[in-house]
């Protein structure tokens, strides 16, 4: 971890908490093509299927041959910084609050010019840089140029930190810290420099392996939280909601039945209670107060992570009702993303394939270790993405889904 980011001073309680501002978020529809890659951490630019020309800014036709067949294609990002400036003046509040702000003009190896946010660690022009697509606080794709080589973590650069949700010095609520994934997440965010973790737990009679050790970790506070109980959620939010900077919702209910495997809707209802309505309860209780703290100093409220499932994309009939509850949760998460965006708070969705836990016992490998899921979550927070598909299964299903969702439906139904 870099030493360049110092622990911020304690908040002055006399001062008014600033209201969140956003960078300009108006884009043409064609320019929104950048978001598709940026959401996953990929730099994708338009490439002409007919003549191979790469172009930027996004256009409605190929600038070279006028073809309309333009494919968003992953770029290397290698380029040269050809000019730069440091802005001391801006028309928009978001940047005025963060002056001075460094910008670069980069010529990519593919021969196109880009205006980018420029890493302070980049040498003066001309110098080699790597361009990445990130998400800004308005949730829009933005291009960032970093030095070619060396430690270039976004979160270690004072200005580019604005594009991350770095847990360092922040306070994190893990809604179910008792599950294997929950325990791994608690350890991972502490390792990433979180100030403290509220470890949510319900069913106090359960004492699974690893849990006593979690409870004894410094900086961990156990808090009772049952996401299926509105009163429990509201009580916790009333107690500490105004201090939570990051919510990581790991609570889930998972049973393995197809539609005909079990009569009645009780199991499905239980899954919905936790996976979908649980998220809704948490959002209603914690969301508004987090929104109000979107600009509360350097350790403002910053992100909300949902542990979903790759089954949210397309139903896996062997886990039919669980898939359905995760699809519902995804839909709620999309709405939450829209509502949190006004405060610059990022909603990150994690879509793991089967996790190596008791409910996936009968599935063949590869399965994701809980620690891998935790690493994916912390990686998303330290970086600048909003959709994460950790592991080989998730990547495979995502590729199939993007290629042909009907084909994936048939493949999963075999």
């Amino acid at each position: 971890m870099s030493e360049t980011i110092k622990r911020p001073k304690r908040k002055n309680p006399i001062l008014k908490t600033r209201a969140p501002t956003l960078p300009p978020d108006r884009r043409s529809r064609i320019a929104l093509g950048l978001v598709r890659g940026a959401a996953l951490g990929n730099l994708e630019l338009q490439c002409c299927a007919a003549c191979g020309a790469v172009q930027y800014p996004p256009r409605e036709a190929c600038v070279r041959c006028l073809s309309a067949e333009l494919e968003w294609t992953v770029m290397s990002g290698r380029g040269e910084l050809v000019s730069e400036t440091t802005l001391h003046h801006s028309q928009e509040l978001f940047f005025r609050e963060r002056m001075p702000w460094r910008l670069g003009l980069v010529r990519l190896a593919e021969g196109v010019s880009l205006v980018v946010h420029l890493d302070a660690r980049c040498g003066p022009a001309p110098s080699p840089v790597i361009v990445e697509a990130v998400l800004d606080r308005a949730g829009q794709a933005a291009l960032v140029a970093k030095p070619d080589g060396g430690n270039t973590a976004l979160a270690d650069e004072p200005k580019l930190r604005n594009f991350t949700s770095d847990p360092r010095f922040r306070k994190v609520l893990v809604t179910d810290a008792k599950s294997p994934v929950g325990q791994a997440v608690v350890r991972a965010v502490l390792e990433a420099g979180a100030d403290l973790v509220w470890a949510g737990h319900c069913e106090p009679w359960k004492n699974p392996p690893g849990w006593p050790a979690i409870a004894e970790l410094p900086k961990v506070t156990l808090v009772p939280l049952d996401v299926t109980d509105t009163k429990s959620v509201n009580e916790l939010a009333a107690e500490l909601g105004f201090k939570v900077d990051i919510v990581i919702n790991t609570a889930e209910h998972h049973r393995t039945f197809g539609i005909f495997g079990r009569a009645g809707v009780e199991t499905a209802r239980a899954e919905m209670e936790t996976n979908c309505f649980g998220l809704l309860r948490l959002a209603q209780a914690f969301g508004p107060v987090m929104q109000a703290r979107g600009a509360d100093g350097e350790t403002s409220a910053v992100a909300w992570v949902n542990l979903l499932s790759i089954y949210a994309l397309s139903n896996f009939p062997q886990h039919a009702t669980y898939s359905a509850s995760m699809a519902a949760a995804l839909s709620v998460a999309q709405a939450l993303r829209a509502e949190m965006r006004v405060a610059g708070i990022r909603v990150v969705n994690i879509f793991p394939g089967p996790i190596d836990d008791e409910w996936n016992q009968l599935l063949l490998p590869p399965k994701l270790a809980p620690s891998a899921v935790a690493r994916a979550i912390v990686g998303a927070l330290k970086g600048s993405v909003e959709d994460v598909y950790p592991g080989d299964i998730a990547q495979d299903w995502l590729a199939r889904f993007r290629d042909n969702p009907k084909a994936l439906e048939r493949e999963l139904g075999r």
Partner: protein, 389 residues
């Protein structure tokens, strides 16, 4: 070079009009354009019904265009154009109006560029200036055109060895010219020290490198020389005019403009060369673009701009009279009128109607326009030569 283009024989440019600038105005663009039209008809001694051609440049006329203006101002022109080209709109309007007059499509064309400037106009205009600006520039710091010109200036300084003092010399000289021009918004002298010590805006640009947006209008009439004589109007001849859009799109940084592609044609049609030009009215929203115009219009070679500036003086009575009313940098940038300010000043100089600093024996004036920062560069360039009769 393509076929020789027909000249602008018989075309006269007359009645230079400036509607006094204001830093901010509560009025609409229509008000400034109306004042300009009134001054044109009064100046020409004609009724507005005799204006049968209208060409308009404006950023703040929305939701109207030139069409709405006809009813707003009670005109029934048989030739109408709207030129949304910012700093190049003046030159392009002049070219089009001249052809309309030559072809008989109109007899008297009013070319008017005007804009208002409300307190928040500039931010709103830069936020959605173009699709590329909105998608790929404004979200990056929201610096407006300062950002693009900072990139260009930094690159130019690094590549060709220009120093802040070189840009400063132009700004200081223009201010000196502006002090004699009654419509300039800047009334105080500017020293090189003040220029160099001004607050940074977008490195390497400082405060006095950047135009100040304001409200105002500039206008002139285009008609046949015969008509101008019959009306008894002092007028200039149009000896040549060029325009070019999106020149050199593959240059990584805009270190040259479209003028390079067309300047030979310009001088050929005028039958003169750069050495015959008595004054240059260049587009000057930032001084680096002045440097490019001096080079690209043939007054010196590429990269020789800094040396040219060190060798010359730019006051109206200097060795290279330049932006003799003060230019936009010292008069103010009244939106699209910034692209017509130079034409109006050149017209005053070659017709002996200067309101301020006067260039002695001004026979040939070169006026240049530059407009529309779209992504990383300005897309429109134009230039015209006005000659005394």
């Amino acid at each position: 070079m393509t076929n020789r283009i027909a000249g602008y024989d018989g075309v006269a440019v007359a009645v230079p009009v400036t509607v006094p600038y204001e830093r901010f105005s509560i009025r609409g663009a229509h008000w400034f354009i109306a004042r300009a039209l009134k001054a044109l008809v009064d100046g020409a001694g004609i009724s507005k019904d005799e204006i049968d051609g209208l060409c308009v440049g404006s950023f703040t006329l929305a939701p109207d265009s030139a069409v709405g203006l006809t009813q707003h101002l009670g005109l029934s022109p048989r030739w109408l154009d709207h030129v949304p080209m910012g700093g190049a709109s003046g030159i392009v309007s002049l070219r089009r109006a001249a052809r309309a007059v030559q072809a008989g499509d109109a007899e008297i064309v009013a070319c008017i560029a005007g804009d208002t400037n409300h307190v928040d106009s500039f931010r709103l205009s830069t936020a959605t200036f173009s699709m590329f600006a909105q998608d790929a520039v404004y979200p990056y710091g929201a610096g407006g055109p300062n950002t693009s010109f900072a990139f260009l200036t930094a690159y130019y300084m690094r590549t060709y060895g220009a120093k802040p003092e070189d840009f400063g010399k132009l700004c200081v000289a223009q201010r000196s010219n502006a002090l004699q021009f009654p419509h300039a918004l800047f009334k105080k002298p500017l020293t090189l020290d003040e220029y160099l010590n001004a607050r940074p805006v977008a490195d390497p640009l400082r405060l006095f490198d950047c135009v100040m947006p304001c409200a105002g209008a500039e206008a002139f009439l285009v008609m046949s020389e015969d008509r101008a004589r019959r009306l008894g109007l002092p007028h200039a001849r149009l000896r040549g005019a060029i325009e070019r859009h999106n020149a050199f799109p593959d240059d990584p940084v805009q270190h040259r403009g479209g003028w390079v592609m067309d300047r030979d044609r310009l001088y050929e049609s005028a039958g003169i060369g750069p050495e015959d030009i008595d004054l240059l009215e260049a587009y000057d929203d930032y001084p680096v673009i002045c440097m490019l115009q001096i080079e690209d219009l043939g007054f010196c070679g590429k990269g020789e701009g800094p040396d040219f500036i060190r060798r010359h003086t730019f006051e109206a009575n200097g060795s290279f009279p330049f932006n003799t009313s003060g230019g936009q940098l010292s008069v103010g940038q009244a939106g699209a009128a910034g692209g017509t300010l130079g034409i109006v000043e050149a017209l005053r100089q070659v017709t002996g109607q200067s309101l301020g600093a006067r260039v002695e024996n001004a026979r040939h004036a070169l006026v240049s326009g530059f407009g529309m920062i779209n992504f990383d560069r300005g897309l429109c360039t134009g230039a015209a030569i006005l000659a005394a009769t």
